[in-house]
Symmetry: C2
Subunit: 216 residues, 2 copies
DNA sequence: CTAATAGTGTCTTTCAGACATTATCCT
DNA sequence: AGGATAATGTCTGAAAGACACTATTAG
């Protein structure tokens, strides 16, 4: 039997775009023909790889550019799409909220609306959040949600949102400070002592104990 | 455009079967039409899901039954297979060596032969080993490479093979002992004090500090 | 000065890691 | 008894976490 003789599923990609908006971790959704909002997705084109398809879906359906996507897992229930046999590779990515179009739908990842997403897109979102937490537990802001430079306070606020828990300010600082490079600059503060600015050092790993602090 | 009008890649599955044999972590390979050995794999059948296809490949190509497979990632380079457009979902699984047929090919995961596997199967193997280490760092022998009950020494030996490093016997014991249930039985020892036997407690997680001990 | 926020010194408790000692089997 | 292996007691150094103190800005 030649390989072209095998029946083949349609192959789709979907992308869970996570962002921090209003102090909350949110996921981007787009309108879908069935009424229920869905993650941006598309079918794989001839000769295209999955990441390229996901990036294309992100641009065409959500107006988001320049985000690096990564695979989460393949959703392969043969009956997950009533239009036919469609398997879909769930992808994750994270973008700062200012790179998301104003008119986009954003749902809180732990909110009730996200459960109403089309298909199995709620499960994809859950997976993306778990994945985000694992990656942030290993590296300091690996997805560059903060700009090139930031204060320790800004970083801690971000982690409190990602992990949805309060983090002790002094322990947090001591855990991450050695993985950051000081820029020398100080933050333009409102009042109070100005904070030092830091930047990421590439390839640096957080200490194992930091993961314990974050997860709790 | 209707979904059936999209060009579709052939979808394959491959399985990296890991086992411990001769005190070494090895991967199972099978003969392949191109000469170079390959991981057992197959094409997805109509209406089948990926895990079922992988399990079928395991049974038909390698004679291994009853192993639970899990997805690693999709290898999707459009030119990875010169027969045409074939994407393949790499799967991982682990089986005790006594469940592997005698005539099977086993390659040391860190040996030179594994690099000669067909297609991108070397990368798949590397991914399976990384995945194994992550999972063993979180749970005590989650893949049941040891039997239902075992001694702390047997467990430590296993971990030394999985992580390819010596582990201090007393620290190791204290790290994992609270995650195990004593059976009350003692090991039939050659000479010396017999060791206590333990069994896994389901759902139990290793402490975060254990991961640090293991990874080093 | 006071208010406000950033950053650090210090104490306590916990624990990994090393080492030594005790415990329990065998011949 | 003596040998061998399992298991545990103990010490030390390191570090997390809590708390309080100092430092540096604005007004």
């Amino acid at each position: 039997m030649h390989l072209t003789d095998y029946p083949r599923p349609s192959v789709a990609v979907d992308v869970a775009v996570l962002t921090v908006h209003d102090e909350t971790l949110k996921v981007l959704a787009v309108p879908h023909r069935l009424g229920r909002p869905a993650l941006p997705g598309t079918f794989l084109h001839q000769g295209e790889n999955l990441a390229d398809a996901a990036t294309r879906a992100l641009r065409d359906k959500a107006g988001v550019e320049g985000a690096a996507v990564h695979q989460l897992r393949m959703f392969d229930d043969p009956h997950r799409d009533d239009r036919g046999w469609v398997v879909s590779m769930a992808h994750g990515t994270t973008v700062p909220s200012d790179q998301i179009p104003q008119n986009a739908m954003l749902f809180a990842c732990d909110g009730p609306e996200v459960k109403d997403l089309a298909f199995d897109h709620y499960d994809m979102t859950t997976l993306a959040v778990t994945d985000l937490r694992e990656r942030y537990g290993r590296h300091p802001d690996p997805d560059h949600l903060l700009g090139e430079s930031f204060t320790v306070l800004e970083l801690r606020r971000l982690y409190e949102i990602v992990y949805d828990r309060a983090l002790p300010k002094d322990s947090f600082r001591r855990q991450i400070i050695d993985t950051l490079d000081p820029t020398g600059a100080l933050s333009a503060t409102g009042s109070g002592r100005p904070a030092e600015m830091f930047r990421r050092r590439d390839g640096v790993e957080l200490p194992r104990s930091a993961t314990a602090l974050l997860v709790g």
